[in-house]
């Protein structure tokens, strides 16, 4: 069964859902190859001695890119298995189309955003005592959130 934050669908038939999954598979392949390419470039730069990257950042880039590639590969295999099984495809479509599940997802997302914002504030206020740079970063994150919210709010007010 394929479930997750970005799995919601508006497809009412298996055919529509199949098309949607195929489109998602394209994006997964793109993300997987993109992440693998970034890791390859970073390793190439390091091994050839073209640029200087700290060991820590090298680990971060390679780890993140490998993680993204593996996650995309797993999702891709899951999607391909779903596409070959009509019954499981229907179950997955209903699971992701279901309005209660959609509401649960948006409520969970809202709760996570609140926790994240509180963590940002606490980190900035406590961490700021030790390093002023933390406050700058957390303020940036907070303002990105606020501006994104205002833009999205204006957009949906016009759309609905």
């Amino acid at each position: 069964m394929k479930r997750g934050i970005f799995c919601q669908t508006t497809a009412t038939t298996n055919e529509e859902y199949r098309k949607e999954l195929k489109k998602k598979n394209g994006w997964l392949i793109f993300a997987m190859l993109g992440a693998a390419a970034i890791a390859a470039v970073i390793l190439f730069v390091e091994l050839r001695g073209i640029g200087e990257i700290s060991d820590y950042m090298l680990g971060v880039y390679c780890g993140a890119c490998t993680g993204i590639s593996i996650a995309c590969l797993i999702l891709l295999v899951k999607n391909l298995l779903l596409l070959n099984n009509e019954e499981k495809l229907k179950q997955s479509r209903i699971e992701n189309y279901d309005e209660r599940n959609a509401e649960i997802r948006s409520k969970a997302m809202l709760a996570a955003i609140r926790v994240m914002l509180i963590c940002c504030m606490v980190t900035a206020l406590i961490g700021g005592l030790y390093d002023a740079y933390l406050i700058k970063i957390m303020m940036f994150v907070t303002y990105v959130f606020l501006f994104s919210y205002l833009i999205a709010d204006t957009y949906y007010r016009k759309k609905m």
Binding site: T12, I94, E95, Y97, D98, E99, R100, N101, E103, R114, L117, I118, M121, A124, L125, G128, L129, A132, I135, K136, M139, T142, L146
Partner: protein, 103 residues
């Protein structure tokens, strides 16, 4: 005061204002149960299982369970689908307690 100290006070006040905005978004009120459903009654009368009903209206069985127990309130589209399935009106399927609301 040093430049860093000034910036800290400014940032602190900014965050204090932001915190008020965020807290303003919290809704501490609890909704009252004013919508009752007769889904279970109609389903049992028709001899339909929860699984069959869920399949017919394209939702999960868990959604039907939540609807029947009143934990979840159906959208207009789902209410319409359910009413259509049992061949009744939405008003017959869902009982709206008007006395509790200012309408």
């Amino acid at each position: 005061m040093s430049e860093n100290g000034d910036m800290f006070i400014l940032a602190f006040s900014d965050f204090f204002i932001s915190a008020i905005f965020y807290c303003g978004g919290f809704d501490f009120r609890k909704g009252r149960d004013i919508l009752q459903t007769r889904i279970a009654e109609f389903r049992k009368k028709s001899g339909v299982t929860q699984e069959e009903l869920a399949d017919a209206v394209s939702v999960t069985r868990q959604t039907i369970i939540s609807l029947e127990s009143g934990k979840y309130k159906a959208s207009l589209v789902l209410a319409h689908k359910l009413a259509q399935f049992f061949n009744v009106t939405i008003e017959e399927m869902f009982v709206f307690d008007k006395e509790d609301e200012n309408i």
